[in-house]
C-alpha cells in the first residue's frame, strides 16, 4: 500500500503538470474504463517530422489513472510518433514504479490505451494496445 501510494503518485494526482486540452491538435482520443467510469482524453500536437511538441490529458479518475496519465504525457514530449506507438505496459509501470493487480492495472493503462489508439488513428481503443 505504502508502495502503491508513493509520494510521486499522490503528488502528480494533486498537482498535475500536463492537464488540459489543445485546440487545434493533431491527435485527440478519449475512452472510458468500463469497470469504473474513469475517463481520459489525450490531445497531441506534432511537428512536421512527427515529433511530439505538445501533449496534454483531461478527464477524471483515481490517483493511479491520473498520475499515470500525467507521467505518460510528460514522457512523450520530444518523442517521434513511432516511438509513442511502440510504448508498452511496461513503460507505464516503470514510470509509476509500482506493482498492480489486474483491476488496478486497467486504471494505470487507460491513458496509454487512449494515447496509442489516437497515435494509430484507430476508430476504437482496444485492450490489445496495452497487453
Amino acid at each position: 500500500m505504502d508502495d502503491l501510494y508513493r509520494e510521486l503518485i499522490i503528488d502528480r494526482y494533486k498537482n498535475p503538470q500536463f492537464r488540459g486540452e489543445l485546440d487545434p491538435h493533431d491527435i485527440t482520443f478519449e475512452d472510458d474504463n468500463p469497470y469504473c467510469g474513469d475517463h481520459i482524453r489525450v490531445d497531441v500536437r506534432l511537428d512536421e517530422n512527427n515529433i511530439v511538441t505538445e501533449a496534454v490529458y483531461s478527464g477524471e479518475g483515481c490517483s493511479i489513472s491520473q498520475a499515470s496519465a500525467d507521467l505518460l504525457i510528460e514522457s512523450i514530449h520530444g518523442k517521434p510518433l513511432d516511438e509513442v506507438k511502440a510504448l508498452t505496459k511496461e513503460d507505464v509501470l516503470e514510470l509509476l514504479g509500482i506493482e498492480l493487480g489486474p483491476v488496478r492495472l486497467k486504471c494505470a493503462l487507460l491513458s496509454l490505451k487512449v494515447l496509442k489508439a489516437g497515435a494509430y488513428g484507430l476508430g476504437e481503443a482496444s485492450d490489445d494496445l496495452v497487453t
Binding site: M1, Y5, C36, G37, H39, E60, C62, I64, S65, C107
Partner: protein, 416 residues
C-alpha cells in the same frame, strides 16, 4: 459482548461467522478480512459448500433422463431444491421457478420471450433511474429492435422513487413496469407492493429485480402480486452460475421458449419441435445442477436463520454505519435515511477518488467496492462517476464498521 454487539441481538453473529470459512482469512499476514462487499456477491457458508462438494463426490450425474442411482439422486436433489426455492419466495408452484444463470439472464429471458411476443412499435416500458444495467440494457436492446418507448420513474435527491412521476408515466398506458426492489447503490427499498398495484390498475405487468431484496429481506411473490421476479444465487449465500426467474404460471405458459436444445423439448423432428412443460421449457441443455442444489442449501440456510432476523440485523448495522460515516468530515453518503434502506452505504470523499478509498481500505483488509456499481445513469444523475460502497450481510459486525471508519480516516490522511 460489547454494548454495540448487544444491540445486534437479532442474530448470533459469532455462530454465523463460524459458518463462513473465508471470514477467518487473513488477506495479508496479520490482517484479517473485513468483507463489506456482499452486494456484489455474498460469501458462502460451509452448509452450502459441503452440499455441493458432496454432490460431486457421491451423486454427480446428468438429470431427468438417467435411470441409474446417481441420476435418480441428482434429479431428486435438483428438483427438491426448486421446491424449497419456490417455498422460500412463496411461489404457488415450483413450476413457476426457472433456473437461469443470474438475475441478468432472468431479465433477458423475459425481455426476449415475453417482450418479443407482446411488445411492438411505440409500446411503453417503464423503468426507473436507479436501475442496475441488468434491468436497463435488455430493455434497450428490445427497444431498438421493436421501436419501444422507455420511460423512467425519477429518483429524488434523497434517493427515493418519485411516485408522482410514476403516476404521470402510468398515463402512457405502459405494457410493463420493471423496477428494482432494492437499489444496489442507494440501498433504497422501494415500495414494491404499491408500485405493482399501481401498474396493475392500468393493466401493465410488473417485473421485480429482486437481486438485492431476496437475499436481505423477506420476499413473498404472492403477497407482492408481481408477475415476474428475478434474483441471483451468488448474492444470497449460494454459488455462482445459478439464478432464478419467477413468473406467474399463465404468463410462462403463454411465452415462447428462450433457448433451444435438450431438456426443453417434448419431441423433436428434423425440422420442428414441441416444447416441454414448465419449468423445463425454459431450461435448455444440461443445467447448472450442482449450483441449483447449492442454491437449495443456501435457501435452507437463510430460512433456518430467518429472513426477518437477517433484515433486522442489517437494519441495525446500517443505522450504526450511517451514524459513524456521517461523523467523518467530507463523507457524503448517497441514498435515503436508514429506515428506507437496506445494508448499503455508497459514499464519496472530496479529497480522494473511490478507487483510492477502496485501495487504501484494502491495505487494512477492508473490502469495499468502488466504481459505478453497474448503475452509470444513476451516478450521472448525481453528477458523479464513482462511489465507494460498503455493504453488509448477516455476518457483518459493528466492529467491522469501526474498521471501515478507521480506514476512511487513513485515506483522508494520505490524501490530506
Amino acid at each position: 459482548m460489547t454494548l454495540n454487539e448487544q444491540k445486534l441481538a437479532a442474530l448470533d453473529i459469532q455462530k454465523i461467522r463460524g459458518d463462513f470459512p473465508i471470514l477467518n482469512r487473513e488477506v495479508r499476514s496479520g490482517i484479517p478480512l473485513v468483507y463489506l462487499d456482499s452486494t456484489a456477491t455474498s460469501q458462502k457458508p460451509l452448509q452450502v459448500l459441503s452440499v455441493m462438494d458432496d454432490y460431486y463426490r457421491r451423486s454427480n450425474a446428468n438429470i431427468h433422463r438417467g435411470i441409474h442411482v446417481l441420476a435418480e439422486e441428482a434429479t431428486g436433489a435438483y428438483e427438491s431444491a426448486r421446491e424449497r426455492i419456490a417455498a422460500f419466495i412463496g411461489a404457488a408452484t415450483p413450476k413457476e421457478v426457472i433456473y437461469t444463470r443470474n438475475t441478468t439472464e432472468s431479465i433477458n429471458l423475459v425481455a426476449q420471450t415475453w417482450g418479443r411476443a407482446n411488445l411492438e412499435n411505440g409500446d411503453v416500458v417503464i423503468l426507473t433511474e436507479m436501475e442496475h444495467h441488468s434491468n436497463l440494457v435488455p430493455w434497450q436492446i428490445l427497444a431498438a429492435e421493436r421501436n419501444l418507448r422507455l420511460e423512467f420513474i425519477s429518483v429524488t435527491p434523497d434517493g427515493l422513487l418519485d411516485l408522482e412521476s410514476y403516476t404521470e408515466l402510468l398515463k402512457l398506458d405502459p405494457k410493463i413496469v420493471a423496477f428494482t426492489h432494492m437499489s444496489n447503490v442507494l440501498g433504497t427499498i422501494n415500495p414494491a407492493r404499491e408500485i405493482i398495484q399501481m401498474a396493475h390498475t392500468v393493466g401493465a405487468l410488473t417485473l421485480v429485480d429482486a437481486a438485492q431484496s431476496v437475499p436481505h429481506i423477506p420476499v413473498d411473490v404472492q403477497a407482492l402480486d408481481c408477475d415476474f421476479l428475478a434474483f441471483s444465487g451468488h448474492k444470497m449465500c449460494g454459488p455462482t452460475g445459478v439464478g432464478i426467474l419467477y413468473g406467474r404460471r399463465e404468463l410462462l405458459e403463454a411465452m415462447p421458449p428462450f433457448l433451444g436444445g435438450g431438456e426443453m423439448i417434448k419431441r423433436v423432428e428434423l425440422r420442428s419441435f414441441q416444447n416441454n412443460e414448465l419449468p423445463h421449457k425454459f431450461e435448455a441443455g444440461t443445467p447448472a445442477i450442482a449450483e441449483a442444489i447449492g442454491l437449495g442449501a443456501a435457501v435452507d440456510y437463510l430460512a433456518e436463520i430467518g429472513m426477518d432476523a437477517i433484515e433486522q440485523h442489517e437494519q441495525e448495522i446500517i443505522a450504526y454505519a450511517l451514524e459513524r460515516l456521517e461523523e467523518i468530515p467530507g463523507v457524503k453518503v448517497f441514498g435515503p435515511e436508514a429506515q428506507y434502506k437496506g445494508g448499503v452505504a455508497a459514499f464519496t470523499l472530496p479529497e480522494a477518488h473511490a478507487h483510492d478509498i477502496s485501495q487504501i481500505l484494502d491495505s487494512d483488509g477492508v473490502a469495499v467496492r468502488a466504481g459505478h456499481h453497474c448503475a452509470m445513469p444513476l451516478h450521472n444523475k448525481f453528477g458523479i462517476t464513482a462511489t465507494a460502497r460498503a455493504s453488509f450481510y448477516l455476518y457483518n459486525t459493528e466492529e467491522e464498521v469501526n474498521k471501515l471508519v478507521d480506514g476512511i480516516y487513513k485515506v483522508k490522511k494520505i490524501f490530506a
